[in-house]
Assembly symmetry: D2
């Protein structure tokens, strides 16, 4: 799929999307914002992202619910206008690197009332008292994440929120959907190419919400949230309709579905993967259905966002 | 709650929101559209709504999937700017009447691929073949709905999609949410007052998608869809925070929750009803929990929209 | 369907299923217990049922979690062996009356840890602290239910748990399923006939768990639980395969589905209702699908049991 | 946990549980069957298991729905009575080996109507036509699985269905639950120890349903189903209450939750893992919640059985 790009693999200009260039960050994925960059397919963008809290949770003593200004959460860089992108195209984003930025401790996690995988929420609306609010601050460098005195986790960064604009909607950057956004899938990492279905003229790429690492499901709702310098290359594939985001890396191809309940996210991902195998690799639909039963892998991205996200993948060696 | 309105029960001006005044209809609930009316609390609006298909499904022979131009579905009148409305207020809408308009057969229902309660959908993504597309056209007057040669259903009209704008999002009018919109709850009918939590300056009321009648759940996804003349009166209650839409009529008070899976919509509705009983009627939380267990009623609005909607209600005689 | 019964509407013998005749009550629906009665189609059974707690929650001060001896919950009368019943038949149970028995206060409701519709449970497993345990005791007579000093609720009794044995399984009487059992649907009331698909020789009818009244969803998990004298008439319809329980009364026919999530219970119920309309009333499947969209009704029985139960119904006047 | 066993790591007698010794296979997990073996903690059992279809799907031409005799599916060896086991204990099963047996092609997969992850089912009850029935037969040896002419999959065998009896129920071996059974989790493989909460005197171990390999979710509902010779060692840990099955191998500890919808299975698994970390490894509950957010892994076992199964795990290196 990468070879189908307009840029033919040739790197274009590099654009610096610093905090100054960005100016105001955005809290929705939509077509109503003014593009901060106009780029050509093949161009590289170096973006300074905020953490999901826009730096407001700066001490372990502070109260997240007091500091966070709902709905102004999960600030995003962009939109980036990709020349030539129109509905029915695919925007392909190769992730080059994600480097933590800002003063240490750069990493933040927090327990926020009515939010998280093991608590009552605004959707799973219950009468139980919420857990106490808690904040963790962690030193995060490319050498690792100091979770506590005893445990240093490997630095396995990825982009939590990445995607394009819907056509006529502007939807909270907290929500993952068919245009990408807050999928919180750890495979959206350096080395991967992620494909998004263009819905609107210019595509309008947004990104933000980097994580130093994250477990499957993003259990408490907040990973190792970091501000970062993200380097991505953006290409364009003309007229290649896909319904949901796709991803590939050295080892596998993956489709990404977002829905509730979690089985629906899984169904979306697996059905899209069958479609990919059928359309691009010549499989028979039933044989692909049988094969994924024996060799498909699932990655649960998040079980905490407005929609849950699941990635379904198959190793590339089986596709030839 | 009605007596708390700014208008003190006094009717204000009447505004005609004809097709001409409306001009372009809208397909999202959001703050980015230009208001078509500015009104004062207590004013009456008479709106000409389209059916959910904007009249495009005009014969039983036509193919819905060819006629419908996704995502330009479920056209809405509005937004109506309510003077003085700010975040934290409640907009109260009293529904006076809903009269079918346009040539007969005025009512339309259709089976649309990947949409409906008993088929695989874009969310419950399956490999089964879709059902054949089908269209029903029905004569609809205030005397009744001619379902077929043998059955005439009573005319029990309601507004399928009604609500206010979210604060920073613009979300498809197909989706019900805490701001109202496509709840498809038959109790949103003449005689009812519906309360919406204001999210943004002026409130931005939208409405459309009237139904001549509808069963619980809106099973196939399309009720008796009609264009209509809708008369509503809009009032404003200052600083009365509610989290989800509420409704009252002669008999009961009802809270409306929208979510997936369906039990979460139910939980939202019942929890909000407990909060209403506690805040406005002085119940103890546990006693309200016990009482709704014995006397609460549930109305399943829809099991087909992007979120499902459930209304939880209690008879007024028990609240005093 | 009633006219299809072996008994041809003729009442047979009356059997007293007192506590003494019953002896040990049962906590599962299964074929391993010894029948307490052998009856013929048309016979009447007068059963003394316990409440769901077997009378162990006898004061408002007691702790349900200490008193209840899991899994020995929801005691059932039966099994009743119906002569001639074999797999593929239907057992039809006409409910004649439900009268409270035992000393007052005869009605009990309780908040039990990890159980209920608005709390974390053993399935929706959360970290939040449970609600405090609470017990309500209520006087219950055929004149009404004294909920508290101010509110007297009408006595609207029904059988919470009623059904037949699965073929090879013995499943907790807390669980509703295709064989009936703990559906907690208020329409299983005097005047109704309920139909169950026979799975095993003799059918093995069980019953218990009467409620003085109950709201939709049985929100906190415990209705007005009462011990009762239940009078039912049991008939047999030979070779009439149905997949899930069905019900009819003076006004409507209803199908009952039990599953999680709640939308699956709804789908089961509506699909079975379509099948009923097609098989017994000659409807076209698509027309029935369209019609239930406009005129179907849903009753949410419970959102608290191991499976949730929904009834889908249509008024009889539309079926002719 | 292993060192806590009654057998103190000493292997006891070896018991041959051949087809002849087994005699009749079982289709439920329950206490009503006669034990086929009485063993002591530490003993080894070599069992001849059938495939989930009991060998009835023997050609690619046959019709699964004609060959399968519902509910007599998923035949199980056992029950094995473990001396000294009582409620509140844990039965620990170390899996030594799983070797395919019987004539080639030994592996079977099939598309069965109303069953599978990407089709309407008896629960997700829809009107769409089912997929055509299909059967795959595959040569399976310890060298690999010949999926088709081009693809040979590695032999990664595991026990699909393994567990103990519930206390008073006898539940279809198709259903996974807190007693184990049809979890279909690929980590239940040679090298692993699986822990089950004893519910009844003797524990009553059942096993069957081996898979030559399986992808996450067991998408179409049938993995590479094989008859096998399974060698397990069974130990007993006295008075060590756990709520759900647990597993450990060289690399990680895992908890296994089964429920619908899929997020509830995930919640169960993660909550149990937190409890394990707190009880046996001295973690603070909140720190464990934070830590699994960053380093927990999820394995989706099945999304096709009566309950879905998810395993939540954490690497052992983090627990010290």
């Amino acid at each position: 799929m990468t070879t189908k790009g307009v840029a033919k693999g040739i790197a274009g200009r590099t654009h610096q999307l610093t905090e100054e260039v960005q100016g105001t960050y955005h809290y929705t994925y939509g077509p109503f914002a003014e593009p901060v960059l106009h780029i050509r397919p093949g161009d590289i963008v170096v973006a300074e992202t905020h953490d999901a809290f826009e730096g407001q949770i700066d001490t372990v003593e502070c109260s997240p619910s007091e500091r966070l200004n709902v709905p102004f959460l999960n600030p995003q860089c962009g939109p980036i206008y990709v020349e030539g992108a129109t509905k029915g195209d695919v925007i392909a984003i190769r992730i080059h690197s994600i480097v933590p930025r800002g003063p240490q401790p750069a990493g933040t996690a927090a327990l926020i009332p009515e939010f998280g995988g093991l608590v009552g929420t605004t959707n799973t609306a219950l009468l139980n008292d919420p857990l106490p609010e808690k904040v963790m601050k962690m030193n995060v460098t490319e050498d690792g994440i100091q979770f506590n005195d005893k445990i240093k986790l490997p630095y396995e960064p990825f982009i939590g929120t990445l995607g394009v604009s819907p056509e006529i909607e502007a939807v909270s950057s907290l929500q993952p959907d068919y245009w990408g956004a807050n999928m919180d899938v750890p495979d959206v990492a350096p080395g991967a190419i992620v494909y998004f279905p263009v819905q609107t003229e210019g595509g309008y790429v947004y990104l933000g919400d980097c994580h130093g690492t994250q477990g499957d499901g993003e259990l408490c709702g907040t990973a190792v949230e970091i501000p970062a310098v993200v380097t991505i290359q953006i290409d364009l594939i003309k007229q290649h309709p896909i319904a949901w985001p796709r991803l590939e890396n050295e080892h596998f191809v993956m489709t990404l579905g977002s829905a509730r309940p979690l089985e629906d996210a899984t169904r979306i991902a697996y059905r899209e993967l069958i479609r990919w195998m059928v359309d691009d690799y010549g499989w028979d639909m039933y044989e692909a259905y049988f094969f994924l039963t024996q060799a498909g892998k699932l990655r649960v991205g998040n079980i905490v966002d407005p929609k849950y996200t699941v990635g379904a993948s198959i190793r590339k060696e089986y596709l030839v």
